[in-house]
């Protein structure tokens, strides 16, 4: 009893002294920095979600405000408009923006690597790639699934404009369209991927491991990357660093305590416990130490991204190839 009272007294006196000394200390101790984060139910956001829900963000002085976006283009648009400060995104939209010369954001880390959480799901009658001819395939444009689809079709010599009908549907509509028999196949990522896969008569035709760059660079068509609004990063470097710390601590939890993590994530993804565990376990959750090697020295991740940019130009998804390195900022690591 007495000890507690004494402790409380000490704290009050300290605060009062700090208050007397000046505001900065008080501000530093009391007010967390607000970061608007653009996320979704995709595994690339698991790190941020766990960090938020387990209090890691608050511990590091961050008030994380979660905004959900179902397409990365919408998320990037929010970044460009200044409504989102830090976003996790599949990199295709970011590359498209880079190709247009937009400098409003910088790539700061890559939180994970995945290989099997994305692919093309087809109905029973389709047994191999050639069977896709004349069919309707639903996919979200400018997403990693879109790139995967185009790449695999190109490898098989199938013309995406003439031999198949590729229809643009946002992730939320893919499931409905597939169930309603409006499309014959769907290229999706988790959790939509898992939900469609669970439907009767559906099988996986190929996943990210069929991606041409995966075979050589272990790069998926839309690797996850964390990026920050350039002006936000410049004004709040400490906050961004603190954010990163929280992220990678969450990653540690994902690697070491998958069941506990899964339980927390169920609220975000609405997957079954089994599916959720599966997704967590089949993903490689990077550490802070990994980042340096991946992002700058030798920067294999960036090399892979450059190759991806090259492919986007080849697939006519973007007009010109940006020099990805110009957008990388490793000072927050």
């Amino acid at each position: 009893m007495n000890q507690n009272r004494r402790r409380v007294m000490k704290q009050v006196i300290t605060l009062a002294a700090a208050g007397a000394a000046g505001l900065p200390l008080v501000a530093g101790a009391a007010a967390p920095t607000v970061i608007n984060y653009g996320g979704s139910a995709w595994l690339g956001h698991y790190s941020a979600y766990i960090a938020m829900k387990t209090g890691l963000m608050t511990k590091h002085g961050i008030d994380l405000r979660w905004q959900a976006f179902s397409t990365s283009s919408a998320r990037m648009a929010a970044v460009m408009a200044g409504n989102v400060d830090i976003a996790g995104t599949g990199v295709v939209s970011a590359l498209a923006l880079m190709a247009s010369g937009a400098r409003q954001f910088q790539l700061i880390a890559t939180p994970n690597n995945f290989g099997r959480a994305e692919g093309l799901l087809v109905r029973e009658g389709i047994k191999e790639l050639a069977d896709l001819k004349g069919k309707k395939i639903g996919v979200t444009y400018a997403s990693s699934a879109h790139v995967l689809l185009l790449d695999v079709l190109s490898q098989a010599g199938i013309n995406p404009d003439k031999d198949v009908a590729i229809i643009n549907l946002p992730a939320t509509e893919l499931l409905t369209a597939y169930k309603a028999n409006q499309i014959d196949a769907a290229a999706a990522w988790t959790p939509t991927f898992d939900r469609i896969r669970a439907l009767p008569g559906t099988r996986l035709l190929f996943d990210d491991s069929a991606f041409s760059l995966y075979k050589s660079y272990k790069m998926s068509p839309g690797p996850d990357v964390l990026l920050t609004r350039s002006s936000f990063g410049k004004d709040n470097p400490a906050a961004v660093k603190a954010f990163m710390q929280a992220i990678f601590e969450a990653n540690a939890m994902l690697t070491q305590k998958p069941e506990e993590s899964a339980r927390i994530l169920l609220e975000l993804t609405s997957l079954s416990m089994e599916e959720q565990l599966g997704v967590i376990k089949q993903t490689e959750w990077f550490t802070l130490a990994d980042q340096k090697a991946l992002m700058s020295d030798p920067g294999n991740f960036i090399v892979g991204l450059q190759k991806l940019a090259e492919m986007l130009v080849k697939l006519k998804q973007v007009d010109s190839m940006p020099q990805v390195r110009q957008w990388v900022n490793t000072t927050y690591l």
Partner: protein, 257 residues
């Protein structure tokens, strides 16, 4: 006073409009070149033109324009074919009007976009679905235009027609229909513009070609020049159809004062 009138003659006004347009484009181009705005937020006219040329060479431009135009035409014509006879009947028969009024009142405020989920379920991702969106967006306002036109007919003409031996159907065909034409035509001009907005909203979801699709696709890939190009093309096409309409009006309605 007389001088002022001569200054603002027809030819002078057209020149003024042309100069204003050129000046606007130059200022726009200047702003973009000076780098005041990021190209992602506002592309320069020259950039948009370059995109247009590229798309033209790849034939994608003409494919998109024709796809949208086809959808508009089919949906619009379907709406016209339904609304004119139905509208004339509703305009002349109080009983029919009373029967249809509840349905019409329910349908009228619904924007065409709200029909997208339902039509996707009924027709799937097909051209029929696109036509139906245009149709649903156009048919109710068209009906209301026709009904109003019908009620503007001089009742004396109807009396004269009946006096000359016309039965109910002949009155509709020989008097009401041609008599309503001026008002119907001007109403249809508006409906055609409306049909274009419907087609664009239909193409934003589940399409793989068309001007609306082009805009949406451009947005996904942050090709703002494509987005603006799409908008310009829509404006342009509606303008042209407007002019064509006006020519039709003038030739068909030569009997008016």
């Amino acid at each position: 006073m007389l001088m002022k009138k001569e200054w603002f003659s027809g030819g002078a006004l057209i020149t003024l409009s042309a100069v204003s347009l050129v000046a606007f484009l130059l200022v726009w181009e200047g702003i973009c070149r000076a780098g005041i705005v990021d190209a992602v937020f506002l592309p320069a006219p020259s950039q948009i033109l370059a995109r247009a040329m590229r798309m033209w060479e790849q034939d994608t431009l003409i494919i998109n324009i024709l796809a949208s135009a086809r959808r508009v035409m089919v949906g619009f014509l379907a709406a016209v074919v339904v609304s004119i006879p139905l509208g004339i009947m509703l305009g002349t028969s109080k009983i029919a009007r009373a029967v249809f009024d509840p349905i019409l009142s329910f349908l009228r405020p619904l924007p065409s976009m709200s029909w997208i989920p339902l039509t996707l379920l009924w027709f799937g991702i097909t051209e029929t679905q696109k036509y139906s969106i245009v149709f649903m967006g156009a048919v109710t306002p068209a009906l209301l235009y026709v009904i109003e036109a019908t009620q503007g007919i001089d009742p004396l003409l109807i009396r004269a027609a009946r006096n000359l031996g016309a039965n109910r159907w002949q009155v509709m065909r020989e008097v009401i229909l041609p008599g309503c034409m001026p008002q119907i035509l001007s109403g249809m001009k508006v409906i055609l513009g409306l049909s274009w907005t419907c087609v664009i909203s239909a193409e934003l979801v589940a399409a793989k070609e068309g001007l609306g699709f082009m805009i949406m696709n451009g947005k996904e890939f942050f090709q703002t020049d494509t987005v603006v190009l799409g908008m310009v093309l829509i404006s342009f096409t509606v303008l042209i159809t407007d002019i064509v309409f006006r020519l039709i009006q003038r030739s068909v309605l030569s009997w008016q004062k």
